[in-house]
């Protein structure tokens, strides 16, 4: 196929070399590499289900061309914990009823990680601003906020394992 290119991505700490075409989004490439924790939702930048961190910055992988990311570092939700040990955000989401159908959860946790990296002690308004690009149609967000605040406290108290 024309416009093929080989790129290297560091995905969840592991270097992966892959051949892509210019028109492939990061979402397509990640799912092609079997990172199925990255979800495809609206493909318009509205729902945030496909959110990943690129060099620590949260982006919608459906709107990002993989060809522009050679040698960059990508973190998906499954890259946050350490081995079998869940990240405080993952633990809080699972323990506090913040997951119902679960489709939005990977994107929500990535966005939450990005919020807490910048502001370890956010207000609920900070969370509203930070999560404005993540649609969840099940939870009403209340328990999502609870989980992020709970994880934030754990991380402030030195419990960050990720």
């Amino acid at each position: 196929m024309a416009n093929e290119k080989s790129i290297t991505l560091e995905i969840n700490g592991r270097r992966r070399e892959t051949t892509i075409t210019a028109n492939q989004t990061l979402l397509e490439v990640l799912r092609g590499l079997e990172y199925f924790d990255v979800k495809s939702g609206c493909e318009k930048g509205d729902c945030g289900a496909c959110a990943v961190l690129v060099d620590g910055i949260a982006v919608d992988s459906c709107l990002t061309f993989a060809a522009t990311l050679d040698d960059r570092s990508i973190t998906t939700v499954s890259g946050l914990g350490k081995g079998e040990q869940l990240h405080p955000l993952q633990k809080a989401f699972t323990e506090m009823g913040s997951i119902q159908c679960g489709y939005c959860t990977p994107g929500l946790i990535i966005a939450a990680k990005s919020i807490l990296d910048e502001n370890p002690d956010p207000t609920d308004d900070d969370l509203r601003l930070g999560l404005s690009g993540n649609l969840c149609r099940c939870t009403g967000y209340t328990r999502v906020f609870d989980a992020i605040q709970s994880a934030a406290k754990v991380m402030r108290d030195g419990g960050e394992q990720g």
Binding site: D46, A51, T64, S132, G133
Partner: protein, 292 residues
């Protein structure tokens, strides 16, 4: 899967200008954050053969406040604006627009020039930039030119940018002491919603007199626009609630909204009046508090 194209990755502005200048067919498009372009490509509305990625052109991403001006590189992201405290203090209208702009992931990659070039009358950064008196710097291989933002749009999704040009900078004068600027976006939700009506107002005072004012309207005409006749009602006068009501009524006259799925034209006209009045009244109150 999208239609095929190539992505070119210039390392600096000169290389990028070279690439857009080589566009003989009109099928080369600049790519920044991609938050509009990728959606358009997916919808099949665009069929470029090449995208010139500006991701690697680091020289286009900066915020400078000096020599009486605020200068924003074209590649500055919406999040860059939000994170710059001095800029948010000087230009609360722009900070507010950045806050209610799409969602966080989009704000992290969407750029000022991208929002300018998408040309939507609902592009939220435009009313504040118009109210702040912004100018654009455009560059091509042949040289540079400066254009007031006010003259940039020619019609719905149509602007003055030539095929061989890129926007390099957006700048505006530092608002003088005692001046105020504000923006209000009316939409169904605070985040991730397309604007029903947006109004930005910047007011300067000389003693008790309104010495300068700019009123900018978004999502109520084919382009964002200044309500110049409404401004003229206020300039050189001491602001009063009667005068503000008169200007708000005039701003409605200068809007030309459409009916669509978000709101009716009548409702949008009503909102232009309410928001213009509200923002001007707030400016007057802030001014009065400043004098105490």
């Amino acid at each position: 899967m999208l239609a095929e194209f190539e992505i070119l990755s210039p390392a600096n502005l000169d290389e990028a200008l070279e690439l857009v200048a080589s566009d003989a067919t009109g099928n080369v498009r600049p790519l920044s954050g991609g938050t509009n372009l990728v959606v358009d490509l997916r919808a099949g509305g665009e069929a470029p053969t090449s995208l010139v990625s500006l991701c690697g052109v680091a020289e286009l991403r900066y915020i400078k406040i000096d020599d009486g001006r605020v200068s924003l590189g074209a590649g500055t992201t919406v999040s860059d604006v939000l994170k710059h405290r001095d800029l948010c203090t000087l230009a609360p209208a722009l900070a507010e627009a950045a806050t209610v702009f799409a969602g966080m992931m989009v704000r992290n990659t969407a750029t000022l020039a991208g929002n300018l070039c998408c040309g939507s009358p609902a592009a939220d950064l435009m009313p504040p930039l118009l109210a702040l008196g912004a100018e654009l710097q455009l560059a091509s291989k042949a040289g540079q030119r400066v254009l007031p933002l006010d003259e940039f749009y020619l019609g719905f999704k149509n602007n003055q940018l030539q095929r061989d040009e890129l926007i390099t900078e957006i700048s505006f004068p530092i608002p003088p002491k005692g001046a105020t600027n504000a923006f209000y976006k009316l939409a169904r939700r605070k985040g991730d919603a397309i604007t029903v009506a947006g109004v930005a107002v910047a007011v300067e005072f000389d003693g008790g007199i309104c010495s300068a004012v700019r009123i900018a309207l978004g999502a109520v005409a084919p382009t964002v626009l200044r309500a110049r006749e409404a401004e003229n009602i206020l300039i050189g006068k001491a602001l009063s609630s009667e005068l503000i009501a008169e200007a708000a009524a005039q701003a409605i006259e200068e809007s030309s909204p459409i009916d669509d799925l978000r709101a009716s034209a009548d409702y949008r006209r009503h909102c232009v009046g309410v928001l213009t009045k509200r923002l001007l009244t707030n400016a007057l109150e802030l001014k009065s508090q400043g004098n105490q």
